[in-house]
């Protein structure tokens, strides 16, 4: 983050106002933050930005120029009027009419260019923003096509403004964050709200104020958060009053800055900690993180980083030690003029050991340590209506957390067809979750009670995984048979379970007509199938180490599973 001073900024503004404002407001220049030292600077900035970004402001100023210009005479008055006349060849409004009364009027149908292309002119205006502000009529709504063009001209930047014709409001949408993993902590802390709406189109350009980042007394905030600080704003208004800015403008900007914003009805307004009296900047949206959680995240990250650093330092130290050891071994080897064969072998072996160790250490050094990241997810703003999808409005939830089980097929931007085929494939392959290394309880020698217990758990889990499709079907049948009776139940049974083998049918729907020994036989058959399947899964997972250890227990577990889960 590079801090630029207000003097630097105003120079830039006067020189190349388009570039400077755009860069600051839309974050074009990476990591540049305007630093404000005192309230006077803030007041000047507010005034300048209002003049700079306000179409009504420009029109008012320009009309005043036209009105002030007598026929054939050089206009006098303030500096900025003179400046316009000097550049008459570039003068944007050459299509005006003069009435007999001397009144100057634009030709009907002329669109006012709302951004003057001449930076010098705007620069001159901005040198005295207070004077420009004094003549503004900010409360007159502005809804011309030219305004739309002006807004569209900004959409080269990924931040888009879209116009809602029905309500006459504008919505500023920030670009979709491409991957959730690329969202950094900084995003959560500084960009809290991505979508704004204002009811009056006239306010829209000034909404650009809302995304500018400034540093005030060492705290980086968006400008409108400064607007919300009552004491601070009082000082700003005082500065303006000293410079003859009218009362109406101030009232308007108060409204604009959300100074009077009320909390949303029925929802808790979340504050980050106790708000200090002098700096009331931490008003946050209900989705902002709690201070405690932010702190906890920082603590965790710092701890992990310190640990990684420690490990790294130890490795570096070891590397240095090994290098010197290798050097000394080489020197020792050189010192001997005529080593015997045994000695040579010994040296070779020693050097090889050191080298392999060195290689291992430098390999470990190359691995980049895990960076701490915390779960978050994004949510489509306002539901997935076609309009919202088209407008790409969305909202990342600024949560610490957590949602693990949104079915992937329901997530946004997931190719459903691919999802389905993937799921079918994984079902067919029947991959089971097993610990990555062979658990010690599966070793042939592990015969004590805790190992046996753990084995039982492992096998039970494996059975539940292997028999998952069967359980699904059983559940389906249970719910169906609960509702059906008589003939309907029989035909349903034939339709649903007819194609299955008798032991599966008995597992799912029971076999009341059979005798107990026959049922036991069916159970045994199913248990055999399950045992084979689970054993195959174990073999494929631990092909090297596992060879049918504890097979009896596996089989007993399968039998128990069939007995417990089946409908006999």
């Amino acid at each position: 983050m590079r801090l630029i001073t207000f003097t630097e900024f105003s120079e830039r503004l006067a020189g190349d106002s388009n570039g400077a404002v755009k860069a600051l407001l839309l974050h074009d220049s990476d990591g540049e933050v305007l630093e404000l030292k005192n309230c006077e600077e803030l007041a000047q900035l507010c005034a300048a930005l209002t003049v700079r970004t306000f179409p009504p402001a420009k029109r008012a100023i320009q009309q005043r120029i036209l009105k002030a210009m007598p026929e054939g005479a050089a206009p006098g008055g303030s500096a900025w009027v003179a400046h316009f006349v000097e550049h008459e060849s570039d003068f944007p409004f050459d299509r005006y009419q003069r009435k007999a009364s001397g009144e100057v009027k634009l030709e009907p149908g002329t669109n006012l260019p709302l951004m003057t292309s001449d930076d010098n002119k705007m620069g001159t205006l901005l040198r005295n923003p207070y004077a420009a502000l004094a003549v503004l009529d900010l409360r007159t709504p502005e809804t011309t096509n030219a305004l739309n063009d002006f807004l569209a001209s900004r959409s080269t930047h990924p931040a888009k403004l879209s116009y809602e014709r029905a309500s006459g409001s504008f919505v500023l949408a920030k670009p979709r964050v491409p991957y959730v993993s690329s969202v950094t902590e900084a995003d959560f802390l500084t960009v809290q709200t991505e979508t704004f709406a204002v009811k009056n189109a006239a306010l829209q350009p000034a909404m650009l104020l809302f995304i500018s980042r400034v540093s005030f007394k060492g705290t980086v905030v968006r400008l409108h958060e400064l607007y919300r600080c009552p004491e601070l704003m009082e000082k700003v208004w005082a500065c303006w009053s000293q410079n003859d800015v009218p009362q109406g403008t101030k009232a308007f900007l108060q409204e604009l800055g959300g100074y009077r914003a009320q909390p949303v009805r029925g929802e808790p307004q979340v504050f980050v900690g106790p708000v200090p009296d002098h700096l009331c900047l931490s008003v946050m949206t209900p989705f902002a993180l709690f201070k405690e959680v932010v702190r906890a995240k920082e603590a965790l990250s710092a701890q992990l980083e310190a640990e990684n650093e420690e490990v790294r330092a130890a490795l570096e130290k070891k590397k240095v030690a090994l290098t010197t050891e290798l050097e000394s071994a080489k020197a020792k080897r050189k010192a001997l003029t005529k080593p015997s064969r045994v000695q040579r072998e010994g040296f070779k072996e020693e050097q090889a050991t050191i080298k392999s160790e060195l290689e291992r250490v430098s390999k470990a050094l190359k691995v980049t340590p895990e960076e701490p990241s915390f779960r978050s997810f994004e949510l489509l703003y306002g539901g997935s209506t076609p309009r919202n999808l088209a407008a790409e409005l969305d909202k990342s939830l600024h949560t610490a957390n957590v949602l693990l089980f949104v079915p992937v097929s329901r997530q946004h931007r997931v190719d459903k067809a691919e999802m389905r085929s993937h799921r079918a494939a994984s079902l067919l392959q029947g991959r089971a979750y097993l610990p990555p290394k062979l658990p010690s309880c599966l070793n042939p020698g592990a015969l004590d009670a805790p190992a046996r217990q753990q084995r039982t758990k492992l096998f039970a889990e494996l059975m539940a995984q292997r028999a998952a499709p069967l359980l699904e079907l059983k559940f389906y049948w249970l719910t169906r048979s609960d509702e059906l009776t008589g003939e309907a139940a029989l035909s349903e049974k034939a339709a649903t379970l007819g194609h299955l083998s008798p032991e599966l049918q008995a597992f799912i729907a029971g076999a009341p007509s059979l005798e107990a020994p026959q049922r036991a036989e069916l159970r045994r058959q199913l248990a055999d199938t399950l045992t084979a399947s689970a054993s195959a899964a174990l073999h494929s997972a631990y092909s090297d180490e596992y060879s049918a250890n504890h097979f009896d227990e596996l089989r007993a577990c399968a039998l128990r599973f069939v007995q417990a889960e089946g409908t006999y």
Binding site: V198, L300, Y381, G382, A400, N401, L403, K457, E461, A464
Partner: protein, 302 residues
Amino acid sequence: MKSLLLFRDVGVGHAKVNFGPFVGLPSMTGVHGLGGALCLALCEELGLSPADIRLDASLFAYDEYTLHEGFKKGFKPGTATSEALPAAWASFNAHLLYRIEACTPQAASALARPDFRRLAAEVLSSLRLCKGTLSPQRQAVNLDAPVLRHLGSDLQRALAMLPPRARVVRDRSGLIETAREAGLPLIELLLAATSAPAQRPKAYRDFFAEVEEQVAPRRLSLVPVYNGHFFLEDSPSGQAQRLDAMGHVLPAWASSASYTLAEIQSVASVRAHFDETAEDYDPDVFWRSVTLPQGVFLHASA
């Protein structure tokens, strides 16, 4: 006499799920409180006095989960438009299992009424869960059905009637007690529970490795769940104050959101590890009102 009351496939629409920093599941106090409200409403419906049917414990499972922001009103001129989302909502299929106790003979006979299960579902449909609407698809499950008779205990029968892929939310507030005794900072613990093992600092890595060892080979997935708001002091003292954005004086944290840890496990896995010999079969699948307040306070330090 304690008996189980199982509602399967209760459609929950628009239940509120953001109570603080951890978004995802509805409030567990809400789930348990729904059971309490159900008991009260049933008593009223059956003409009993309010304490006749008592809620003992509740089990919560869900599937078909969707998180959404809910509908948003159009922008109208003249109305204030909120700057942020008002809330996050979730819709899901809930499977609610309540263990209720009939405290009087009248209540016991009422529970044995043939139309009791239908009545219970009707009463349930008039209640709400965390602002969400409840739409039971059918009457409460008949746990004495012939297909279930081969199963020994009531809980086993109830679990058999749950869809195998549904997720059971198990009470793991015991872990918080353990961590508190071990001196681990608790909010960090909640955060570390959701991150990958390699991303946890060593103290937390060891703590969770130990816990995972206990449940191995099951994959352990822990999530922080909202647990209710609790008072931090008997009454707001009036001494500790803070200012809001408007300069209004507010009491500093008189109450705090509380979070606890829950484990999420599939029904099939719960059934596979079912231990009939355990005294109070598999105690932490149930949430109880005595264990609910044991959580992490977000603002306890203030």
